[in-house]
């Protein structure tokens, strides 16, 4: 399982990057131009603290939005719903992928949460572990805020598909 998660996550990162360099287009991932905010007159320390404060406030604000969305989904959707929805293997994988996106559990804890999904197959749980860090509600909000909604609208589904695919391949070969 450990090898599977490692291999699948690494593959996801590489494949996504390769594909994005083709279809991302010019400036596909360039953040808003920071140079206009900070000139070269200030010392390096001044520039650093200025950028740090700016990024913190920008990302932090949108993190609140993403975290609120994840919290709402966690509170409103009972986990017991899942037990009923895992008839076939495809449904299980899809359920786990959706759950990984909506629950947005941090990577320190997602393995422990995944062990609790005892009614799901190992493949489905590997999908949960690979999709979670790659794309979730919080990340989507942050990506839209930083790179634009058009970026997030293309990037998030792309990472979702690639991460599910890599997880399934890793499950086939390693689990």
């Amino acid at each position: 399982m450990v090898a599977g998660r490692f291999a699948a996550s690494l593959a996801t990162a590489i494949v996504t990057a390769l594909i994005w360099t083709r279809i991302g287009g010019q400036g596909g991932m360039r953040p808003p131009n920071q140079d206009d905010h900070h000139d070269c007159e200030g010392s390096r320390w001044e520039t650093f603290t200025g950028i740090a404060l700016h990024d913190l406030l920008h990302a932090g604000g949108f993190l609140v939005v993403g975290a609120s969305a994840a919290a709402l989904l966690q509170t409103v959707v009972p986990h017991s719903l899942l037990g009923d929805g895992c008839s076939g293997d495809e449904t299980a994988v899809a359920t786990m992928a959706v759950l990984a996106v909506t629950l947005a559990i941090c990577s320190q804890a997602d393995a422990f949460v995944a062990t609790g999904f005892t009614q799901f197959s190992l493949t489905a749980r590997l999908v949960f572990l690979v999709v979670g860090p790659a794309v979730d509600v919080k990340l989507i909000v942050l990506q839209s805020a930083t790179f634009g909604r058009a970026f997030a609208a293309r990037f998030a589904p792309l990472t979702l598909v690639i991460s599910v695919g890599c997880a399934l391949l890793a499950a086939r070969w390693l689990l």
Binding site: L53, G60, F112, V113
Partner: protein
């Protein structure tokens, strides 16, 4: 390709810096001055919260100074626009929540909805029991179930468990579930551990924190606590296991 940051609506730079200072102050209030942070994250996160608060306050103070001193204004004035994104205002929301709503720790609502924890196995059959205090061995609920799971012989002796009361759907003789919530890093990943308790006469209301002293029995292959005495307690400052 739209570049959001360049045209993002801005607020004054010192307002953004003030938000950062306020956020740092909230972290200090939660982690340094009181123990309220334990309702939301693990107790071991305290140092990180305090450090993060210090960094926020420092960045905010530097930002305020920069916005108001001549040198800062001169440096900023050369560049195009100066200010921080309006998104910073969103950071006020959790601050308001902490002060006005003061969300309590997770309780019966969460415990009824989240899944049951699969216990982490740092216990073996040979792990020693902690020493007795006042006639019973104090264990956490997870520890109690974990030790039974790995085959420890808990049928000898009395055990003291603390948790909150939840109804037991499989109860035949008025048992209740003594429940605790386990978290790994923050309240978002909470899972429940429960042990059925039998032999309590006037069952307290759902959600009441109690300390039960009893002996272990196995009913239908699952460990239960046969209560000898029960006492209501205050909810602990660190409610998660």
């Amino acid at each position: 390709m739209k570049r959001t940051g360049l045209r993002a609506p801005l607020i004054r730079e010192d307002a953004g810096a003030a938000i950062a200072i306020a956020l740092g102050a909230v972290l200090f209030r939660l982690a340094l001055v009181s123990d309220a942070y334990q309702r939301y994250v693990r107790r071991s996160s305290r140092d990180y919260l305090v450090a993060a608060g210090a960094v926020l306050v420092a960045l905010g103070v530097i930002g305020v100074i920069r916005a108001h001193t001549d040198r800062g204004r001169r440096n900023a004035g050369r560049s195009g626009d100066h200010g921080v994104p309006r998104a910073a205002l969103l950071l006020l929301a959790p601050m308001v929540a902490v002060f006005c709503v003061a969300p309590p720790a997770l309780g019966t609502y969460a415990a009824s909805r989240v899944q049951t924890a699969v216990l982490r196995s740092h216990l073996t059959a040979a792990t020693e029991l902690p020493p007795e205090t006042a006639g019973a061995v104090t264990l956490t609920v997870s520890d109690f179930i974990g030790r039974v799971d790995v085959g420890q012989n808990l049928t000898v002796g009395r055990y003291r468990l603390t948790g909150f009361v939840m109804p037991d759907p499989k109860a035949q003789n008025g048992e209740v579930n003594l429940t605790r919530l386990q978290i790994v890093c923050c309240a978002a990943d909470a899972q429940t551990t429960q042990v059925p308790v039998a032999g309590i006469r006037d069952t307290p209301k759902e959600g009441t924190w109690i300390t039960v002293i009893g002996s272990e029995t196995v009913v239908n292959g699952y460990p239960e606590l046969q209560a000898i005495s029960m006492q209501r307690t205050n909810s602990p400052t660190d409610p998660y296991e």
